[in-house]
Amino acid sequence: MDNSLIIKSVNKFRGKTQVLEDIDLSVAPGERLALLGHNGAGKSTLIKSILGLTPIHGGSISINGAAPGSAAARKDTAFLPEAVSFHPALTGREQLSLFANLSGASADVPALLERVGLADALDRRIGTYSKGMRQRLGLAQVLLGRPKVALLDEPTSGLDPISRQDLYAIIDELAEQGTAVLIASHALTEVEARTDRIAILRKGVKVADNTLAELSSEAALPTRLRITARAGEIEKLAQQVGGTRVNGASVELCCSADQKMAELRRIAALGDVVVDISMTPPRLEDLYRHFAKENRQ
């Protein structure tokens, strides 16, 4: 029982439709889990179930041993809702102080706002904040009182590239202090680099849950090779290596991970005809497409 968040065969219905189906998921202390899935896959619903904001119909959820929505669970969880905004009449400092009072944690509010880059806007009304600034304010309240579990629903939406970097630095910090972090996101390239494990939901069903490397070998997706021919010799190259022609000067072919070196040797042996080779191993985007595809059984 060393996981901070344990979800066991959770089912959830909305009316007659099942929005979560037999979901098993756990996050260890200090682990960063990315939760992916198409619009309406059930990511936000799963997070709300963990928070106890919506009832589940079967299965169990434990937050550090406590039930969703219980006082102990709420004390241990931090939450960043998707597209959150706050009362426009309050200032950032006032809003964060309210959250600090509610959580019962003694907090250095100005320091927290400084941490998310809102030091200048401390005493300005939230009504004057930009979308990204509101998102940062939401992030600041996640850092209140050392949560055991942090649930972030699309935390990077509306943030500029630098702010995204800052955000992931903050997430790393949380993980280092032992918080189990669950990030629902659509930003594949970001989570590819900045999370430890990836879970993919499709129509309420968990279709993948592993590290990126394991998912890659599980999916056995081909590596793509693109070979560029010397000017005017594309016909000859295409005949020799096969594959599909692209843009008049290159051919593209796919090979599985274990054939990769053999293919490279064969192409290198062609000599001067080849002027360039680029190699693209499967990215999270390809894995995502593979796992989230409709017709997988």
Binding site: V84, F86, A89, L98, L102
Partner: protein, 274 residues
């Protein structure tokens, strides 16, 4: 009264101050109270009562409409507004319970309402007393008017939270609140009046009508203020129905309604899924 409820109350009160709501509500109360007091001051001499009594009678009529209106205007988006903004789910993920959240909002809104009522009726009452005299009886009537107006406001604050909880958006909540106001303050009385006319002074008018009337908090407010003060009753010319009831009926109704309303609101809020 938990510290968390107080934290929410403080924050809500700050919002009311900052968006000028408190100022506007107080201003409205002062202006209407003054206008009614001095525009309706003609019959003072003929009835042999002091001017404060007349003023309280007119302000009672005013408060029946205004107290529920101001209360609903404050409370209709108390829940739906937060949900529309997406901050309700965040608020509910904090250790504060739903009862505490509702209590916090209620305390701040009630304080704002009490302030507006006290300043509005107080100012008009003081001016009336100063220009046309006042007695112990009329001062008591003024105090009663202020206290019962706050109670009446409390009822509609609670009803507003209920409406706000069951509505899908703030716009829907606003519409429903208007309907609530119309039903309690206007239509209910019209319906009773119609029934009394049809009944032509029969059993219904004698025995059921007074109780049905006092079951409505707005009417209970009116009856309490009028029945408790003979002089006010004389000036407002509404003694018949009130005298058919035991003295405790109207106060009991008006004291029970905030409790019932709050319980209903808590129930509705408990079912809200942010």
């Amino acid at each position: 009264m938990t510290p968390r409820a107080l934290a929410i109350a403080g924050s809500e009160l700050r919002i009311l101050r900052r968006n000028r709501w408190l100022f506007m509500a107080t201003l409205i109360m002062v202006l209407f109270a003054l206008a009614l007091t001095f525009a309706g001051s003609a019959p003072t001499g003929s009835l042999g009562v002091d001017m404060l009594t007349v003023s309280v009678a007119s302000m009672t009529t005013l408060s029946v409409y205004l107290a529920p209106l101001l209360a609903l205007m404050m409370s209709f988006d108390a829940i739906s507004g937060d949900r529309d903004r997406g901050s309700l789910s965040l608020l509910l993920s904090y250790p504060a319970g739903r009862g505490e959240i509702l209590l916090g909002k209620f305390l701040s809104h009630l304080a704002a309402l009490a302030f507006a009522m006290t300043v509005g009726f107080g100012t008009a009452g003081a001016l009336a007393a100063w220009s046309g005299g006042a007695g112990a009886d009329s001062l008591l009537a003024l105090g009663r008017l202020i206290a019962t107006s706050i109670l009446l406001g409390a009822v509609f604050l609670a009803l507003g939270y209920g409406v706000s909880s069951i509505s899908s958006s703030s716009t829907a909540a606003a519409g429903l609140s208007a309907a609530i106001w119309l039903i309690f303050v206007v239509l209910y009385d019209l319906g009773l009046l119609g029934a009394v006319v049809m009944d032509e002074g029969g059993f219904f008018t004698q025995s059921i009508f007074p109780w049905l009337m006092v079951a409505n908090p707005a009417d209970a407010f009116r009856v309490w203020n009028i029945a408790a003060s003979e002089t006010v009753a004389v000036t407002s010319g509404m003694t018949g129905a009130a005298s058919a009831l035991p003295a405790w009926a109207a106060p009991l109704s008006l004291l029970l309604w905030p409790v019932i309303g709050f319980a209903l609101a808590r129930l509705a809020f408990g079912r809200v899924e942010p």
